[in-house]
């Protein structure tokens, strides 16, 4: 087992060897040096064919048409393009959006940007399990609502929203639905048709593809009704200019194609690991599960630990690459707002650990993590002035 043990697949995944081989090939072949927009010559056409193949591969995973996908630099940009682009295009129709407090920062901050420019945002608070009730979405709609943005799988807790129910409500009210599926795509089934999704954000590096490339699905009915955020050479039908990064896009396509093939195996694999870890952690007193016990993705397990302080807990786990809700360890300045929105105290939000699993995670790694966490908690509690029920 290689140390540190990487259990941060929700932050980023290693590139799949098949993806790497394809990317290296793209980068190494001089005949692929062409700009995919230079259709006048051979090098440009070869590059463009690779891009179009990838577009079809990505589309297939979510049951979209290839021409409904716009390549971007990642899910952050996709979220921004979906939310700000739709809001700006539909400005005259209405300036109200609905989202949730537990969305990713790319969604939250895009909405805040619009709020500063006069849009009204309804921030839904999920229940203590992290679920947003479809009825709450419906109740939040107003005559001038133009967009609902809710994620498929939450990046901190793994909670899965009932997108199909929310999609049906939005369609009924003629309000567009944007879904951030950066965490969910390829890890949980998603189908833009069946779930009636109008816009959907994707990122390659959460799915064994390269960092720095993503895509936005826009339903064909709306693809010309999104205002671009960047302006230039007209690539991606003017929605996203800039030289297309052939190797990145080809890598994303390959990664998504593999993910589609492996989905059932992947789900079973990560769920087994997650349940193994959760069973083990429950042997300790004062370990609380963050997020709904059933309705969550197999690749994430998020727990809060009573009686220990977050930064020290995280510091004790130096042999594990995990994410923490603690302030000092990431770019954020406060305890996880997602866990706070679920009703956790600041102390418990900080004393949280997000374990996330992937294709190459083994049971031995999970057992090692379990042992290290138990050790750390035992030690920190041995001199903690706080009492833990059952401890």
């Amino acid at each position: 087992m290689q140390l540190p043990v990487y259990l941060d697949y929700a932050a980023s995944t290693p590139v799949d060897p098949a993806v790497l081989a394809l990317m290296t090939d793209c980068l190494a072949r001089p005949e692929l040096a062409g700009n995919p927009a230079a259709l006048g010559h051979a090098a440009g056409r070869v590059a463009q064919a690779l891009v179009e193949k990838a577009r079809a591969q990505v589309a297939a995973l979510i049951n979209a048409r290839p021409d409904e996908l716009v390549f971007t630099s990642g899910a952050t940009e996709s979220d921004n393009l979906a939310i700000i682009g739709v809001a700006q295009f539909r400005e005259a129709r209405g300036r109200h959006l609905v989202t949730a407090l537990t969305e990713h920062k790319a969604v939250i901050e895009s909405c805040r940007h619009l709020a500063a420019r006069g849009w009204r945002i309804t921030w839904l608070r999920p229940d203590a399990d992290g679920l947003v009730a479809p009825a709450a979405v419906e109740a939040a709609l107003e005559p001038d609502t133009v967009l609902v943005s809710l994620m498929q799988v939450n990046n901190e807790t793994g909670v899965i929203q009932d997108i199909a129910a929310i999609g049906a409500i939005c369609r009924r009210h003629a309000v567009l639905l944007h879904v951030d599926a950066a965490q969910g795509a390829g890890r949980e089934p998603i189908d833009v048709r069946a779930q009636q999704i109008d816009l959907l954000s994707l990122s390659a590096h959460k799915l064994y593809g390269p960092k720095g490339v993503g895509a936005l699905f826009i339903d064909q009915a709306h693809v010309r009704r999104v205002a671009p955020l960047l302006f230039g050479g007209g690539q991606e039908r003017g929605l996203r200019p800039g030289t297309l990064a052939t190797h990145q896009i080809a890598g994303m396509g390959e990664a998504f194609s593999l993910a589609a093939q492996r989905l059932p195996v992947e789900v079973a694999h990560t769920r087994a690991l997650r349940d193994r870890l959760w069973t083990g952690l429950q042997q300790m007193p004062g370990v609380l599960l963050n997020g709904h016990v059933q309705q969550r993705s197999g690749h994430i397990l998020n727990v809060s630990i009573e009686g220990v302080e977050g930064e020290s807990l995280f510091y004790s786990l130096g042999e594990l690459c995990v994410a923490s809700g603690s302030a000092c360890t990431s770019l954020a300045n406060e305890a996880s707002p997602v866990l706070r929105a679920l009703g956790r105290s600041a102390a418990l939000a900080q004393a949280s650990i997000r374990f996330s699993f992937g294709r190459t995670t083994t049971a031995a790694e999970v057992d090692f993590a379990l042992e290290r966490v138990a050790q750390a908690v035992r030690k920190l509690r041995s001199f903690s002035p706080l009492r833990v029920a059952g401890g």
């Binding site: 930064e311 020290s312 510091y315 000092c328 600041a346 903690s384 002035p385 706080l386």
Partner: protein
């Protein structure tokens, strides 16, 4: 967040950590900070003939807080009442490279020690401290 090697050393093997064991002399204790303030520390001293004959601390806090408790305890073990009173927790800043944003947590140690001193002067409790 970067941690100095001194912090790492104390965190790995904290001195005088945990509840104070039963023993001779007068036991006193004091607390500083709170969970809401980001750290809670408790010091327990056993004093006899004007000296600290044993001491221990408990802490819920960041690695700097824990290392500061450990280093403070190491420094105060066996000291006189006057030395305890003169002890300045801000002196822990340099050896541990405590970042500016965290110096407030050293003052929690001061608060806890001051409460110990007050209890010492008030006669403390002659029975052993209850084990936690």
């Amino acid at each position: 967040m970067d941690y100095s090697s001194e912090v790492a050393r104390h965190f790995a093997a904290p001195r005088h950590a945990g509840p104070l064991a039963a023993g001779p002399g007068m036991a006193v204790q004091g607390e500083g900070g709170s969970v809401e303030q980001g750290a809670l520390v408790r010091f327990q001293l056993r004093v006899d003939a004007g000296r600290v004959v044993a001491l221990a601390w408990q802490a819920w806090g960041c690695p700097h807080t824990i290392a500061a408790c450990s280093l403070a305890a190491e420094m105060l073990d066996g000291r006189s009442r006057a030395e305890l009173e003169a002890f300045d927790p801000l002196a822990l800043r340099a050896p541990l490279s405590v970042p500016a944003g965290k110096t407030g947590r050293l003052l929690f140690i001061q608060d806890a020690l001051r409460k110990c001193l007050a209890a010492w002067d008030n006669g403390g409790q002659r029975t052993p401290l209850q084990e936690e």
